[in-house]
């Protein structure tokens, strides 16, 4: 397969172009991403955008990567075809990602001799319209002009995203004219397109897809404290309070976040909270309360590199052990880690179903990469997601912790029925009174334990792709990048195993992995926490490919890493 080679002579080839745009926070890199992704999509290309940014509101140096192609994209690449530096610092910041053929667009005021640079009067042109901030719209115009794409498509996208769209359209038009006139450059040829196929797709980031999943699951309450990179879900749900009846409160701290969520479920809501590692650490005690009182909870945990404050705006799959072992005393829980937009929706929905049905905390593990990456998704039929209720009207002799065969006590909520609902964090008897009686303790421990056993029948098996004897195993957000790395390698020995259901794992189900002669685990962390989980289930891993530098994996780099790791096998 020649998918990624820059050989454009045959138009049937699958071709992608990567554009990296860099600039200080406040220069509008994010806005440029929105406009261009929308405009490229409207022009008929498959689009993929991901960003990396510093933990500051102004200044510094941030980038966004926009990939366009004539086939579905699901991963970022490190090396780029085109780089656009909105300021001088960006030239340096993006340097490691240039190749000999990278085209670098810079302002005329600075030059970069080592690369094929194209000087553009960005600053001067923007200033003509009264503000340096128009530099982003100007460059959107330049790129569209260089590619000789329809100008009107770009202008329509600008209309969507700007309040002062008239002036921005003028700026873009000037950029477009400039771009058209640029000569003597060897541009990567734009891939052939199928507008009809692309128009059917929806463009959104992981945050939004998770949000739709939670709504599909009937989420009608969210209480959260802002923390990158989880805040997007809180923002999304806040915007949805205008569309749906959703109770929302920004809590005073993460302890209150989860306590309010538990209060919400106790009172009859389908409630959730969103947080990142540090905030989740504060929720530990309340998580344990969820386990003991058997009060459902859904927690969206968007990971970022730790320990402590770590890298607040960057990505890592570093909180698996935290999510798995947080909370004192054993109690059943579920960990889900979606790896595509479809999985964000399906597992977001499933989180509410499982929490309600099993009366347990369910943690949805995302990360900055997944949360902030814009990808494409096909149609979703929301009528197929039923918003269920697993509660009953209480009878007079209702007992909240009635012992049952599978350990799940029928849950009732106050105000519905004749019984009283006594939910308690102390050890309790069946009606919810405090007890220290050792036989009752044993009975309740066993009851909670049986819920863990019952949960095993819900476990969703990993997705195994390929017939090769070497399994490349990943979990969560790395799904797309591993897939592309394997396509690039085009090696029949390699198979892809993706886990989105992380905990509990089913011992029997994992025997499907026994057929692979070698197992290589890919994790965006330093502790290989998932490989440890596999080992607990008698799955031995031969090689671990780990990365914890603040970036998610890049398909081209991962390709090399896998190639390298194959040498270790023989």
């Amino acid at each position: 397969m020649k998918r990624f080679e820059k050989d454009f002579s045959e138009s049937t080839h699958q071709v992608s172009i990567s554009i990296l745009i860099g600039g200080a926070a406040g220069l509008g890199v994010g806005t440029l991403e929105k406009i261009l992704s929308d405009a490229f999509k409207s022009s008929g290309y498959y689009v993929f955008c991901t960003k990396e940014f510093m933990s500051r509101v102004r200044g510094g140096s941030n980038t966004t990567l926009i990939r366009i192609a004539n086939f579905a994209l699901q991963a970022p690449c490190w090396e780029v075809d085109i780089a656009v530096a909105l300021d001088a610092l960006a030239v340096e910041h993006m340097k490691d990602r240039y190749t000999k053929s990278t085209l670098l667009f810079v302002d005329e005021s600075f030059s970069e001799k080592d690369f094929s640079t194209i000087s553009v009067a960005m600053k001067e042109s923007a200033k003509k319209f009264g503000s340096a901030r128009y530099v982003n719209t100007y460059m959107a115009g330049v790129l569209f002009g260089v590619f000789q794409l329809e100008k009107i498509t770009l202008l329509r996208s600008i209309e969507k995203y700007f309040q002062d769209e008239e002036i921005n359209k003028e700026v873009a038009e000037l950029g477009y004219e400039t771009g058209q006139k640029i000569e003597n450059i060897t541009l990567p040829k734009l891939p052939n397109i199928d507008i009809k196929e692309v128009q059917k797709l929806h463009l959104m980031d992981g945050t939004t897809a998770c949000g739709f999943g939670f709504l599909a699951g009937g989420c009608n309450m969210i209480t959260a404290y802002p923390m990158s990179p989880s805040t997007g879900v809180l923002n999304f749900m806040a915007s949805m309070t205008k569309e749906f009846d959703i109770s929302l409160e920004q809590s005073e701290d993460e302890i209150a976040s989860l306590m309010m969520t538990l209060g919400g479920w106790y009172g009859g809501a389908r409630a959730m909270t969103s947080t990142s590692g540090g905030g989740f650490a504060l929720m530990g005690e309340a998580l344990s309360l969820s386990g003991m009182t058997e009060t459902p909870a859904v927690i969206y945990l968007a990971q970022r590199p730790g320990p402590a404050t770590g890298l607040p705006t960057r990505s890592e799959q570093g909180d698996l052990n935290l999510a798995l072992y947080s909370g004192h005393g054993p109690f059943p829980r579920v960990l889900l880690a979606p790896g595509s937009l479809e999985e964000c929706i399906n597992y977001g929905y499933l989180a509410f179903e499982l929490a309600d049905k099993y009366q347990i905390p369910v943690i949805v593990l995302s990360d900055q990469y997944l949360a902030d990456t814009i990808m494409m998704i096909g149609d979703i039929d929301f009528s197929s997601y039923e918003q269920r209720r697993y509660t009953l009207k209480s009878a007079e002799d209702y007992e909240r912790y009635a012992d049952t065969a599978n350990g799940i006590s029928p849950r009732a909520i106050p105000g519905f029925g004749k019984g009283l609902i006594c939910a308690v964090g102390d050890e309790h008897d069946e009606r919810g009174q405090i007890t220290e009686e050792y036989k009752m303790r044993e009975q309740m421990v066993s009851k909670r334990r049986r819920k863990s056993d019952a949960l095993l029948k819900e476990v969703i098996a990993p997705i195994c792709k390929g017939d090769g004897e070497i399994a490349i195993i990943g979990w969560g957000s790395s799904r797309g990048v591993i897939a592309e790395a394997l396509e690039r390698l085009d090696d029949k020995r390699l198979s892809h195993v993706h886990f989105a259901w992380i905990h509990p794992l089913s011992f029997e189900q994992l025997r499907v992995l026994d057929k692979y002669k070698y197992k290589i685990v890919v994790e965006n962390n330093a502790d290989a926490a998932f490989a440890d989980q596999l080992k607990l289930h008698d799955v031995d891993v031969n090689v671990k490919i780990l990365q914890s530098n603040g970036f998610s994996f890049f398909a081209d780099q991962l390709e090399g890493m896998i190639e390298e790791s194959l040498k270790e096998l023989s």
Partner: protein
């Protein structure tokens, strides 16, 4: 007096002579006299001797973590504003471990009755200082006596513009009952700080001490007067009892503001699928 709110077959875990018995009786009487529907009432409590109270009252209850009754109570009101919600606990629970929630629950004006048993000592952990312990109070931990300024819940609540701020002494049960009833009738957040002696670990602040060092506010105090209330909140030896402040203007509550439509329980709220579909399709 009937025993409508007595819970059957419970082993009350307090020490003989504990002030909590009086508070338990008081609460059950007030619930009954106000004809509160037990199925529609939830008492949320944290951890501590005071927080055991709801185990002995026949209503719905959510026994949570030390310090965390208020956010749980807030969550319940968010889910179902029609429920009568009481948050109950001791001074350590509500003013120490849960101090942050105390501040923000008042700011929100959640429509709950907040009952704090204030005995100026930690009972369950056996006798350490609490946030409200008086200076000089000696314990096994504060061996040279308490050096910190005692927490003033009434002044804090007033400074946050709480709509109902009161203090009572369980030694004067009749007076306490009137105030507690008023708290239940108040629309919005209502604080009732209840002085109660710990007969085991606090040999200083006894029934007699509370009697000697408090007085009931009379009609000369205008509970509508915020500045007068603030002044009263800082009065010591004797300390005033009664409703220090009540905002009688109808102040909109937290749950009245955060819900989009009516105050229906979220149990009934599912999202319109076609609207969800359209929103998704617009991306």
């Amino acid at each position: 007096m009937s025993h409508l709110f007595d819970r059957e077959n419970v082993d009350v875990a307090w020490c003989p002579g504990c002030g909590n018995f009086g508070i338990l009786k008081l609460i059950k009487e007030v619930l009954e006299e106000l004809k509160v529907e037990k199925n529609n009432t939830v008492i949320v409590s944290g951890i501590g001797q005071a927080a055991k109270t709801p185990y002995y009252v026949d209503t719905n209850m959510f026994g949570v973590l030390h310090g965390r009754a208020l956010p749980a109570a807030t969550g319940i009101k968010m889910a179902n504003p029609e429920l009568m919600v009481i948050a109950e606990g001791g001074d350590g629970d509500m003013y120490g471990e849960g101090g942050n929630h105390f501040i923000h629950t008042i700011r929100r004006n959640v429509n709950i009755v907040h009952i704090v048993h204030n005995n100026m000592v930690y009972g369950l952990t056996k006798g350490q200082a609490s946030p409200t312990s008086q200076k000089g109070f000696e314990t096994k931990v504060q061996v040279n006596g308490v050096i910190n300024e005692p927490f003033n819940p009434l002044a804090v609540a007033l400074s946050l513009r709480a709509g109902f701020v009161s203090r009572v002494n369980i030694g004067n049960a009749e007076h306490a009952k009137g105030v507690l009833k008023a708290a239940f009738m108040h629309h919005g957040y209502a604080l009732v700080d209840i002085f109660q002696p710990c007969v085991i670990f606090n040999k200083t602040n006894t029934y007699q001490w509370f009697k000697d060092n408090t007085y009931a506010l009379d009609e000369n105090h205008d509970s509508n007067d915020f500045n007068a209330a603030l002044q009263k909140a800082f009065e010591v030896m004797p300390m005033p009892l009664g409703v220090l402040y009540q905002n009688k203007n109808s102040v909109v509550t937290f749950e009245e503001q955060i819900r989009k439509s009516d105050a229906k329980s979220l149990y009934f709220i599912t999202h319109d699928v076609s609207r969800l579909q359209n929103l998704f399709d617009s991306y």
